[in-house]
């Protein structure tokens, strides 16, 4: 096995280990029903994290994810109350996500400003716009939403893949294709690996950077759509700090925060590990929910340290 799959293998191993620990301790834990629920409950985080994977692979960061989810949600809800069709609203919001992301990418590259600060501005801006749209929680009542919620694919055992999980898995497949089978995908890895070398090798860094953040914006908006449909409502505070969970999912999935190394598939398992931890603690019943964050934090620490060693093991005789 090539060494580049080691971090992914480690992520999957940790996921299975936690799943088995849960199964050993609680009845009905080791079932496809629990698995299906984890997929559905965390689908919007994972979708956002897939977009963030591209950004992080390129050596950047996107902090506007959570606010985008909130903004898309309130727009969906308010436009629904004005009689719009949810599918049309969703398409409009996806286009908005792409444009907003592209703008962030352009500012980052054109003005040569750190992605951290540009997307932090995006975070404030979008969150502020949420409150401009509405201050209340607004329900989405269109009939189509109920239809959408009823889509499901049966899994072996009693579990089902619900609509959000299906959307998430489809967008994952698309992302894997983009990352590993397109010229753009290779350029993302190249920029993250060594920006100056990538430029000298003929990569159009500006165009690629704009596309990366546009893609990130698309996936954040999609996460917002999925979240709004999943909760059938829009709420201006929805998605706060979700960008941090998304980044955590990406890192747990084996992608280096410095860029250039990682796989999109890992992000699925990274997000599932986060979901698994909270499920485990909910199953326990007696543990305070604070333990969800504490164990996520401990796991994140452990992963970063482990990566340090995995990566330095095939690193990089030429690097000075």
């Amino acid at each position: 096995m090539s060494k580049k799959y080691l971090p992914l293998a480690a992520t999957i191993a940790v996921f299975l280990a936690i799943f088995l620990i849960g199964g050993a301790n609680y009845n009905n834990f080791l079932t496809t029903r629990v698995l299906g629920n984890i997929l559905a409950d965390n689908s919007f985080i994972i979708i956002a994290a897939i977009g963030a994977t591209f950004v992080i692979l390129s050596g950047g960061i996107d902090l506007s994810i959570g606010s985008m989810i909130g903004f898309v949600g309130v727009c969906m809800a308010v436009l629904d109350s004005m009689g719009w069709n949810p599918v049309a609203t969703a398409l409009v919001m996806l286009v908005f996500g792409i444009l907003f992301g592209a703008l962030q990418g352009y500012i980052i590259d054109f003005c040569n400003i750190q992605p951290f600060i540009v997307t932090l501005a995006g975070l404030f801006l979008l969150r502020g716009m949420c409150f401009m749209v509405t201050l209340d929680s607004v329900p989405i009542r269109h009939d189509w939403v109920a239809d959408y919620a009823s889509w499901k694919i049966g899994l072996p055992g009693k579990g089902v893949l619900r609509s959000s999980a299906i959307v998430m898995l489809v967008s994952l497949v698309v992302a894997i294709y983009i990352a590993h089978f397109t010229r753009f995908g290779s350029a993302v890895y190249a920029i993250g690996g060594d920006r100056e070398s990538a430029r000298l090798m003929g990569v159009n860094v500006r165009r690629t950077t704009v596309k990366i953040y546009a893609l990130g914006g698309f996936y954040s908006a999609l996460a917002g759509v999925v979240y709004a449909l999943y909760t059938s409502s829009g709420y201006p505070l929805a998605g706060s700090t979700l960008e941090l969970s998304a980044i955590a999912a990406v890192v747990l999935g084996g992608t280096l925060l410095t860029g250039g190394v990682g796989m999109v598939a890992g992000t699925l398992f990274g997000g599932m590990i986060l979901g698994l931890i909270s499920t485990l603690i909910i199953f326990n019943g007696s543990l305070n929910s604070a333990w969800i964050l504490i164990s996520s934090g401990v796991l994140l620490f452990a992963f970063i340290v482990m990566h340090r060693f995995l990566v330095s093991s095939f690193d990089l005789k030429g690097a000075k």
Partner: protein, 506 residues
């Protein structure tokens, strides 16, 4: 009226200039390249080689001048433009992505189907073909970073070579290769040459220049010194072209020799050296003398200074300072022993541009004294004003940020800082690099003045005449080893060049 374009040249660059803020990196340089030739581009650090190459390959935009490729006037804005015109480059810092596989590195931005789809089967075929041209047989799925620098170098060349490549630029390709790897590379270059590809070869190894090149162009301080067939330039002439700048009248007038009346030995190196950096050398420094360090780029000038200062840790030999054998663990100990060092690159190693003259001068004194015992503001101002006066730093006051001073004055601040810790031994690496003629003379005068005050100086320089003018003794380096010493009386340009060239070559 513009002269006719040379019809047989595949590249013609004319009157190329490039200015960076405060520096003229290239000044009206002409450069021609013919199909099927290997053209060596030579010069010391900062001569403008890399700048010229970056302009040719679209990585930098020129300030003025014109470029013709195959008689068509070209205007490259990106490296992609130059590549599609058939100019491929392997830059000095091997430009590959270490974490990506060999296949990906070889095919990045070179292969693409509909909607940007990349077929990895096709990519692997392409990668194998590219490597086969150079007879390289490696596992193309491994990350490039897992291979040796020599292999990475070959991968970079393989990547650079397309079917329509007309010009291949190799910037210091042999810097980190051993003899066998270099020979392999030369075989490949000769093969490319026979296919009609023009190769621009930048190096500082003179043996390699003669082994492989047809023509040679020498740059110095951003200007072209000359171009000729390799067979027409003797090794001595070539060295003279690279480092033999004639001193102006002003400077020559200042360069009065010391009396030769030197004091006791203050520093003695016995077989001090480090593997792969500099062979063990013996060196004696006496109070009140200036010893020059001469040699070509890469001969070990800077390394010798750093070994003595302790910035590079020696693995052989020892150093005796004022009769006591030293046992240093870091450069701070050297400061305590009275050794000060002014590094070659003022900007990255020497000065903090945003800080004022006063702060830059005080910084090493303060760290010597420890941060718990701050030097009072009054004391700081006294020292700074004293230094500004005695070194003649041209500034309205001591609080001007160093970054706003001219190169010569910045260099004086570096000196002032070294002198503020009242050293007995001063190591100067390229004290006159990148400063104008007037400041040049002043620095040389300062060096003499410091000698007269009883300091021992070691001055490394790529300017041969500067070494000749300012030294009481000259240590000559070649290929990372000390090859000899010239005593007062026998210090001449010719003697030094002869020594660097070696007696067996004329």
């Amino acid at each position: 009226m513009v002269a006719e374009i040379d019809q047989s040249a595949c590249i013609e660059m004319r009157q190329i200039s490039k200015s960076f803020p405060g520096v003229k990196a290239l000044d009206s340089v002409d450069f021609k390249l013919y199909p099927g030739e290997v053209h060596a581009l030579l010069g010391e650090n900062g001569a403008g080689k890399s700048t010229l190459i970056k302009i040719l390959t679209g990585a930098l935009e020129r300030s003025t001048g014109d470029i013709w490729v195959d008689h068509n006037k070209c205007d490259f804005r990106t490296t992609g433009d130059a590549q599609s015109a058939g100019i491929s480059t392997v830059y000095q810092e091997v430009n590959l992505i270490p974490a990506m596989s060999v296949t990906k590195n070889l095919t990045l931005e070179k292969i693409s189907g509909r909607f940007g789809y990349v077929s990895w089967r096709k990519a692997r075929t392409m990668a194998r073909e590219k490597l086969k041209r150079l007879n390289v047989d490696i596992d193309i799925e491994q990350p490039v970073g897992s291979y040796s620098v020599a292999i990475q170098q070959l991968v970079a060349i393989a990547r650079a070579l397309d079917d329509d490549t007309k010009v291949l630029v190799l910037d210091e390709p042999t810097a980190s290769l051993d003899a066998q790897e270099t020979a392999n590379l030369f075989a490949i270059i000769n093969d490319l040459k026979s296919k009609g590809i023009a190769v621009v070869f930048i190096t500082h190894f003179l043996d390699q220049v003669y082994a492989i090149s047809d023509r040679i162009t020498v740059l110095r301080n951003g200007k072209k010194v000359g171009t000729d067939l390799a067979t027409n330039i003797s090794r001595k002439d070539l060295i003279a072209m690279m480092i033999g700048r004639e001193l102006g009248d002003v400077e020559a007038a200042f360069s009065t020799k010391g009396t030769g009346a030197t004091g006791e030995t203050v520093l003695q190196a016995n077989q001090l050296g480090k593997k792969r950096t500099l062979d063990g050398f013996d060196l004696e420094l006496k109070a009140g003398e200036a010893v020059g360090l001469a040699g070509l780029l890469g001969s070990g000038r800077t390394e010798m200074c750093k070994l003595i200062f302790g910035a590079i840790k020696a693995d052989t030999g020892n150093l005796v300072v004022f009769g006591n054998s030293t046992n240093r663990t870091n450069p701070r100990n050297s400061l305590d022993l009275g050794i000060a060092f002014c590094p070659e690159d003022r900007k990255s190693e020497g000065l903090v541009g945003e800080l004022s003259i006063r702060e830059n001068i005080i910084i090493s004194m303060q760290s010597k004294q420890g941060w718990l015992k701050p030097i009072s503001r009054k004391e700081q101002e006294r020292i700074a004003d004293e230094m500004i006066a005695s070194l003649g730093i041209a500034t309205p006051d001591a609080d001007k940020p160093v970054g706003q001073l001219s190169g010569g004055n910045q260099q004086k601040v570096v000196l002032a800082r070294a002198l503020a810790s009242s050293p007995k031994i001063l190591l100067l690496d390229e004290p006159t690099r990148g400063i104008d003629v007037g400041a040049h003379a002043e620095i040389l005068t300062l060096i003499r003045k410091l000698c007269e005050q009883g300091l021992a100086l070691l001055v490394a320089s790529s300017e041969l005449d500067e070494v000749v003018a300012s030294s009481d003794r000259v240590v000559v380096l070649r290929d990372r080893a000390k090859i000899g010493e010239l005593q007062a009386g026998s210090i001449t340009r010719d003697n030094i060049i002869q020594m660097i060239a070696g007696t067996d070559n004329v």
